[in-house]
């Protein structure tokens, strides 16, 4: 199942991060599973230890299953100033999870992240590939409800 992704890249170590992104994005649980490490390790001829080291270094990657929608709320100073803590509390209430956890229905995982570069519209969060800006508690409620509805 990883063949298709691997085939897109020559077997050079420099493509590791690209490959891991693609594997994670194509995974319904938004993570890089163990067996993928073995496959990539064989393809790129680099050790599992190296791949694991890379995976756990970058905050966008996960080695554990996550929800279908990964919420990454920015916690950097500009968003913090504009009330990201309030948004965080709201999200925790709505989803009934702690930071890093996945909702029981598997729809959401709540994470914190560093600056997303949309600070003019703080506070900001990213859900999968989409940015949600100028967040208010009401807006968050709407967004969560909408995604839940779609699921």
């Amino acid at each position: 199942m990883y063949e298709k992704i691997l085939k897109k890249y020559p077997p050079d170590q420099e493509n590791l991060i690209y490959i891991l992104h693609e594997i994670q994005d194509s995974n319904p649980q938004n993570f890089v599973p163990e067996e993928a490490i073995t496959v990539v390790s064989e393809y790129l001829k680099i050790s599992a230890a190296h791949i694991h080291g890379v995976l756990t270094f970058y905050s966008m990657f996960s080695t554990a299953p996550r929800g279908r929608n990964v919420i990454r709320l920015c916690e950097s100073p500009p968003c913090f100033l504009k009330g990201s803590e309030k948004i965080l509390r709201k999200l925790r209430d709505l989803l009934q999870v702690k930071i890093g956890e996945t909702t029981k229905d598997g729809i959401f995982t709540l994470e914190l992240c560093a600056c997303l570069g949309v600070c003019g519209n703080a506070p900001v969060m990213m859900i999968n590939e989409d940015i949600y800006a100028d967040l208010t508690e009401e807006k968050v409620e709407k967004i969560i409800a909408e995604i839940k509805g779609r699921a």
Binding site: H21, V54, G120
Partner: protein
């Protein structure tokens, strides 16, 4: 070619997309069609228009008025009033602080086309005189002449450290190597900074042109753009720009039959602030954990895959086409001595109009906040500005008249950094802000060297104690001491970063800290 009566520029960026700009655009087209205006009114998608907190916005030429915070239900009214009858609907336009949006008032170089042209269409860029500098550089200039010109312009790196770009190039240019690389640092991670994103979203071809000229100047036949994984729109626009440039023969083999080859590739990051450090960025590009390398050797001599590599920031490189086209003297007409050109600032926090502006180096902070940031929101009292990103300095009101350039800020032990200006009003508690800053660095420390990883951890514990009312005044001295040791001994700039915010917060706003100890 068709002539249109009016051009409508709709800003497409992450925040307008989120506000439903696509839906809006479709509805607008339908409405125009309904009134048979399709042949008279041209709709263009452009990058960000540079206003924030303004949702969907649209710039109308030739009137040069901007509608902001647009909603679907406004469409019939605007179309019938403005486009049919020619009467501007004043209640929806942005009319206050008009100076901010007068691009002639801002000395725009890098953002000249942003919000004016369709960033996904190379012809529009060419229409503004784009790629002329590239042709001139490649066909009329020798690499060393380009380096000399950039050196003469006084252009300094816009990533934060302010190292002269021409000087950096001059180390690599003469090296005889089988392969050299140019790497564009687009891993914009400094909190409060999004200038590079807007450049790439709004005018990707200008960055491409800068890359071409710089690559030729240093003798690199391969350039990489290392961009953070979160910047999805940038990545797609850059990909398009590369494809189009290839199609137009601006990239590839034997460009303009000059014998020069150039290939540009995008590398994406995966969430690590430290990768903004050039050697960590190189490690990441090679598929490793993004931890910094020891210098020397410097990347200019041994960089990516141990070959000479020049790493430049997006904004720096985007200045290059204009310098080549108009000459170093022209460029020196902007800014102040020692810090020439313009600088893109991002202004946010408790201001009326968060956004960005590009103004001459050396513009006073007060002016930037008041004129381009719209002044304090709700007329609250100014308390502090965190200038230069999270690694910047908490400035108090006393310092509001400082000139914003590398040298002037240095005099106040402050830094220009990435040009981020986070404004705080009187209600803000600096303890909270410093906590947030320390939390950020603790999260982003790469763990390679001990003073940074252990130092950030203990500073976080200490500020937590203070925040929880368990701190003692001597903790402030300890924090300063640890931050100073981190600054003196850390492997890379990340570990050095906390000294300025910790020191400035504690020194300039000591009362806030003591308040928590009562």
């Amino acid at each position: 070619m068709k002539f249109y009566r009016s051009h409508l520029l709709i800003g497409i960026d992450d925040s307008s997309l989120q506000a439903g700009v696509k839906e809006f655009e479709t509805a607008l087209r339908n409405e125009l069609a309904k009134h048979n205006l399709t042949d008279e009114i041209n709709i263009l998608e452009t990058g960000t228009l540079g206003y924030f907190g303004t949702g969907i916005s649209m710039l109308v030429y030739p009137e040069q008025v901007t509608y902001v915070n647009l909603k679907l239900e406004y469409i019939p009214e605007i179309v019938s009033e403005h486009f049919l009858k020619g009467r501007i609907v004043h209640k929806y336009i942005l009319d206050k602080l008009s100076s901010k949006y007068d691009f002639n008032y801002q000395g725009r170089i890098v953002l000249k086309n942003s919000g004016v042209i369709d960033p996904e269409n190379i012809e529009e860029y060419i229409g503004t005189g784009g790629y002329e500098a590239w042709e001139k550089a490649l066909l009329e200039m020798k690499p060393e002449e380009i380096v000399a010109e950039v050196k003469a312009s006084g252009l300094r790196g816009r990533g934060g450290a302010g190292f002269p770009a021409g000087l950096k190039w001059s180390f690599t240019q003469p090296l005889a190597a089988e392969q050299k690389y140019l790497v564009i640092n687009a891993d914009e991670g400094e909190p409060g900074t999004f200038k590079d994103r807007l450049i790439m979203e709004g005018d990707p071809h200008k960055l491409m042109e800068g890359i071409m000229i710089a690559s030729y100047a240093i003798g690199a036949t391969k350039a990489y753009i290392y961009i953070r994984g979160e910047y999805k729109l940038c990545i797609s626009r850059l990909r398009k720009a590369i494809d189009q440039a290839k199609e137009y023969g601006l990239l590839g083999k034997n460009i303009f039959e000059s014998g020069f080859d150039l290939d540009v590739e995008i590398k994406i990051g995966a969430g690590a602030y430290v990768c903004g450090e050039e050697t960590a960025l190189i490690e990441s590009m090679e598929g490793n954990r993004g931890t910094p390398r020891s210098k020397p050797p410097f990347p200019g001599v041994k960089g990516a895959w141990q070959r000479p590599t020049v790493v430049n920031n997006v904004e720096t490189i985007t200045n290059v086409p204009a310098i080549i086209k108009n000459g170093a003297e022209w460029f020196k007409g902007f800014g102040v001595e020692g810090c020439t050109g313009t600088k893109v600032y991002t202004i946010m926090g408790d201001v009326s109009m968060p956004g960005l502006c590009e103004v001459d180096m050396g513009t006073e902070l007060r002016k930037i906040i008041n004129e381009f940031g719209g002044g304090m929101k709700n007329n609250r009292k100014f308390k502090a500005a965190l200038v230069g990103g999270a690694a910047g300095v908490f400035l108090s009101e006393k310092l509001l008249d400082v000139k914003m350039d590398f040298n002037s800020l240095n005099e106040y032990a402050a830094v220009l950094g990435s040009g981020a200006i986070l404004v705080m009003n009187e209600e803000v508690d600096i303890v909270e802000m410093l906590w947030s800053v320390i939390r950020f660095f603790r999260h982003e420390s790469c763990g390679k060297c001990s003073p940074c990883s252990n130092g950030n951890e203990i500073l976080y514990k200490l500020i937590n104690n203070i925040r929880n009312g368990e701190g003692k005044e001597k903790d402030l001295d300890l924090m300063l001491h640890i931050a100073a040791v981190m600054n003196d001994t850390s492997f890379c700039a990340l570990g050095e970063s906390l000294l300025l915010p910790v020191k400035s917060a504690i020194e300039n706003f000591r009362e806030d800290f003591l308040q928590r100890m009562k």
